[in-house]
Amino acid sequence: MNDLIRQSAATLAGAIARKEVSSEEVTRAHLDRISQVDERVHAFLYVDPEASIARAREVDQQIAKGELSSPLAGVPIALKDLVATKGVPTTCGSRILSGWRPPYSATIVNKLHAAGVVSLGKTNMDEFAMGSSTEHSGYGPTHNPWDLDRIPGGSGGGSAAAIASFEAPLAIGTDTGGSIRQPAAVTGTVGVKPTYGGVSRYGIVALASSLDQAGPCARDVMDTAILHSVIAGHDPRDSTSINAPVPDFVAAALSADIRGMKVGVIKELQGEGFQPGVLQRFKQSLEILTELGAEIVEVSCPHFQYALGAYYLILPSEASSNLARFDGMRFGIRVDDGNDRSVEQVMSATREEGFGAEVKRRIMLGTYALSSGYYDAYYGQAQRIRTLITRDFEAAFTEVDVLVSPTSPTTAFKIGEKLDDPLAMYLNDIATIPVNLAGNCAMSLPIGLAPEDGLPVGLQIIAPAMADSLLYRVGSALESALVDRWGGLLISEAPSL
């Protein structure tokens, strides 16, 4: 098989299963690619080639003995660095956790292991997943493979860039306000935020527990469907995980029939603040959906205008509490630990030095929002808005099957461009945040390059909670129509690096 790194995960899995190629060969090809390009892309924070190859060999043996029957056996994957992996450094992109090797693995890591998926390493991210550009990593930014001077989105910029630069066929991301979808959009890849509770959060270091959701990243819709089906399912260790059978996402992606479906366009998520080229590609996609037999309807979600405000109260509040455990006492770095120092001084010095500016900003916001006397006005009010946004979705889904919008208002911006303007940075997630607040599911897939800058544009498909299959049906239909036009995936247009 030629050019292993450019194949889809499904193709690789098939070839490995048929023993046309070994997992070791596939893994080596990707490790070689990482060593060739990652110095420039910086998608990975940690790679252990020997461990990956050893694991690939193990999987090859299992396959040879007929012990493994999984749709992804032998296929390599990249893990966002907030997924706890036993014995493997897990930093969450933060200096405060440098050197920490978790004593246990996340549930999804165990599921991937059982499915014979081979880990290539851990990917870069905004510190504790706070950011939309991966510039807030404590270990330096990741570069967009389409233009190395630009951001790959965030917080999961490392996972998206790894896929877009053919360093990995698959990656795990997490999405609290768009951290899977926005990087997918700006790197020309596919990313899915599953329904809240659809994928176990156990072992995924929490940013905002009520918003976080892990999901699949890949270069095409089918690969995300396969990966999603491998990591999904109830986990008794995560009380918030859904106890219901996992739908057949692969069958949904295969069906790709959207005739007679009603697709809603959210009035509030277009127009002002959206880049013209983004809107242009979005309108073209609507035309394609119509050609495929869907009916386009405009719907209004009047409370979405408050989503950003509510999100930036709920997220920091939960984060301020979730991040309290990083105090230098039990794991990670410890600063200024002299005999004459009190425990408060050591905790304070450790957090002062270990956390970056954005993390501190959000901890302070959250601490303030939860303070007695302010709770009702901030956290309480934000929760009420959250309810109203959920109702906006419910009302919209009585009229339409799925909703669509541009994933991100703009294409990838330049590294450093918005670093000093938090509000401009936060606005990147204006279209993705409502989904996290309501807990339903969404996908971003590439729909073309913006004419003005030649950079990828993503379209977001939103479905009701537990209707993730609809994402794959619609996404797959749109993708195949676009691929027919382009003569291949959009990502094949990316620079070869």
Partner: protein
Amino acid sequence: MTTEYNAVITEFDPIIGLETHIELGTNSKMFCSCSAQFGGEPNTFVCPVCLGMPGSMPVVNRVAVESTIRMGLALNCSIVPWCRFARKNYFYPDMPKNYQISQYDEPLCINGYLDVTVATENGPQVFRVEIERVHMEEDTGKLLHAGGAGRIHGATHSLVDYNRAGIPLIEVVTKPILGTGDLAPEVAKAYVAELRDLMRALGVSDVRMEEGSLRCDVNVSLSRPGEEWGTRTETKNVNSLRSVERAVRTEMIRQADRLRSGERIIQETRHFNEETGDTTSGRSKEQAEDYRYFPEPDLVPIAPSEAWIEELRGTLPEIPSVRRARLQIDWGISDFDMQSLVNAGALDLIVASIDAGVQPAAARKWWTGELTRVANERNCELEELTVSPSDIAEIEGLISAGDLTDKMARSVFEGLLAGEGSVSQIVSQRGLVVVSDDASLIAAITAALADSPDIAEKIQGGKIAAAGSIVGAVMKATQGQADAAKVRTLLLEQLGVKE
């Protein structure tokens, strides 16, 4: 009752309130499957969850929820149809996550009551203590401060044992208890005792107070009759029944002193000193921490169904007050006697002794007599003494077999209380053997008669009561190891006198 205390009561009305934390006796911890047993090598009953490792998540222990609901039902509470856990945020190294998962404004059980009885000179008096809430939370780890005085201040370093972190706690909070008057300390003590007995009867906790598995925060305020309620203080971590009573009393006296001299009471937490019985100022509420409570997003709400609650109601045992009434009738004792032995914390020990084969009267005699006296002397609970119901059964067995006299039995108790070992060890170490050898007794009788020749004549002359002094002399000579009745029989035989 001191005159100092009486003076408080003539001038002020006390209002008390109690928050009691009790460790549940579940096998596993509140939010993970680690063992919840007491002790163990430090940091051996731990896992990523109770160590607060990044990424780990809590899962609620169903048995702990059941225990709490059963406790709520036994306390006549309403069980709410829906409630959540909350996070209580504060930084402290005994808390792995730097927040405690607790319940805040949505407790599982609300609005109950517990009737407690206090013995007074006018007979038993019943007080209804209203319960505001019963909720669940997790315990913290244990800090050991090394160097200095064993306190955090002056310590060179501190060690943390997280075995206790995550052990399920139940917290029972009373509404303000009014109208107790001078009985406030006794009511507080009786309430905690009743609560403890209820937990034990329900089997939700064995409440080992000596291991700190019951901890009480005691709220006290004073007001002059007709005036608004006074400012309250909260004395934290009062860990025994006796201390609860003392803490209320000393805090009442302290507050009265301040009020009389025109000072105000500062709303603050206070520490109780077990040795002196005094309370000292902790941190004042004015500089209190803001715990930034919010609903725990890692857990789903608890919504107990009616059917589940009814099923649990069906598992409630005979509650302690009903059991006491039954035992009182069985034993044929007065209200006052019953109340005294309950207040002394002797009830369960007496029942356990009877279960071990001791006659009820004998069991009551030992626990409420000698042993209660020693417990009072030592300022401790009866159950903390190194005497167990099975020891009493063993001693009583020896007495009825004629192998121990009453006096020797007291010596065995002394030995037990001094920690000299088991009953049989003490009997042999102290040489406590009944002298039943006739020849040596007759020799002792002969010697005693020789010392007082006139007495033999008196007895033979019909004054049999005079035999007492000879028996006494023989007992003295044998160091109490003879059976007095037997000595008397042998004496009369020797003198040829028939009764």
